[in-house]
């Protein structure tokens, strides 16, 4: 098969949009349903995230006065494109993309693009709430990226390569455990969930940084978030769950691990209240910093 075709298939079909979008909606529904059940409610119907997406596609787009039309409409597209391209690099079983040297670096870069898009979306909207949300998002990304990046870089150090397939095939050891915990530490903030949801504190700053977005662009931002959930959970599974020689078993294990991680993160989000920005920042630089130091030390000791 031609290399260009394999990239296109990985982006558009598997593990790209065609499968990631329904999987992301499934994960969103699972989180909402779990929160509802934990609060003693019935919760949304199974197709709710899909209905939300389709409804937003059929709505009018209101562009605020004085906002540059091009960048306003381009940001959600870039966000979805980047997060899907990142997912296409993850070596899930059956992914047609060949492993490149240094694709870990590309993956980490692409994973920052949706965050950047959200920050820019808040600033270009000319809404004071959007700008506050963007500022918080940007500051929080400085905090949670410490443990997040260290977890992946420690695994690259352990595997001796910046290749995703090498990370996946690295012999299981203590570093996996430590780096996995460090990764999980960063996960709630990356998913914008309680207690690190200060950037989308709807009771305080009305909404998150897409406050001025409506219609299809908002739908794309929601889709980007759904695909990002799949990306984060599957990245955790691929890097930190030991692989078996059978691809189909691997796939099932990865999906189950993803749902399990989401369940744990949702449980934490339901049980905790929102931290202030300074508290969240301090948490990540103190506890995230300690976890990062221990993880890096473990890779160097061996």
């Amino acid at each position: 098969m031609n290399t260009v075709w394999s990239y296109l298939i990985a982006f558009a079909v598997w593990p790209g949009l065609l499968f990631a979008a329904p999987l992301g909606w499934l994960e969103l529904w699972f989180m909402r349903k779990l929160v509802a059940r934990l609060q003693g409610r019935r919760g949304p119907p199974f197709f709710q995230p899909f209905f939300d997406f389709m409804k937003l596609l059929g709505k009018q787009t209101v562009i605020p006065r004085g906002v540059s039309r091009g960048i306003f409409l381009a940001l959600p597209l870039v966000s979805v494109g980047a997060v899907t391209a990142a997912l296409a690099i993850v070596p899930l079983p059956g992914n047609p993309v060949p492993s490149l040297p240094g694709d870990v670096v590309l993956l980490l870069y692409l994973m920052e693009v949706p965050v950047l898009c959200e920050v820019l979306a808040g600033y270009v909207s000319r809404s004071i709430y959007g700008q506050v949300a963007a500022m918080r998002e940007a500051l929080l990304s400085l905090a949670y990226n410490l443990p997040f990046l260290v977890a992946i870089i420690a695994m690259a150090q352990e595997a001796g390569s910046f290749r995703m397939s090498a990370l996946q095939a690295a012999p299981y050891g203590i570093v996996h455990l430590l780096a996995g915990v460090t990764f999980l530490l960063a996960l709630p903030a990356r998913m914008k969930l309680n207690p690190f949801s200060i950037a989308n504190a709807e009771h305080e700053i009305v909404a998150d940084s897409h406050i001025e977005y409506s219609g299809p662009p908002l739908a794309l931002f929601k889709l980007s978030h759904a695909v990002e959930l799949v990306l984060l959970t599957e990245l955790f599974a691929v890097v930190f769950i030991p692989a078996t020689p059978w691809p189909l078993v691997n796939l099932l294990v990865y999906l189950a691990a993803g749902i399990l991680v989401l369940g744990g993160v949702t449980l934490l989000a339901t049980a905790t209240a929102r931290l202030r920005l300074a508290q969240a920042f301090r948490f990540y630089w103190v506890w995230g910093g300690i976890a990062s130091a221990v993880t890096m030390a473990a890779t160097l000791v061996r």
Binding site: R32, A36, Q39, G40, R41, R42, G43, P44, P45, F47, Q48, F50, F51, D52, F53, M54, K55, L57, G58, K59, Q60, T61, V62, E202, V206, A207, I211, E212, Y213, S214, G215, L218
Partner: protein, 159 residues
Amino acid sequence: MNLIERVVAISRRRSPWICRLNAGSCNGCDIEITPLLSPRYDAEQLGVELHGTPKHADIVLISGTLTLRSREAILDIYAQVPNPKAVVALGSCPASGNVFAGSPLVLSESLDSVVPVDVWVPGCPPRPQAILDGIARAARLLEDGATKSQLQNWQGRLS
């Protein structure tokens, strides 16, 4: 109506996002909205989400006596809601001014003279079940393309 239009129409009924607008209410109606999101009534079963910004809303819940100052705000916020949209008037106040009718600072008119109202929910305050029923009726109107704003401007529809 092709398949995608049909799916979008169904989605409008299944995913009504609401936004509250207090136009001079005593807060009674607004307090009756909060139980909708609680375990007892759980509006999320119907896909209802409460949003703070009119840009994300499909249905605007307007409560309270219309005052001289809130008229402009209602028009402004109504214009910010992207089409297609529905308006639900909560309680007796938007309909008639209720006990405040005739006061010097109160616009003694029905809300219908300011923005097109699709569903009236009577009561002072209305019961949460009645508000939920009003939202469900407005969502059904959105599916049928029968809200007053949809009938007024056809370009708001997908077709």
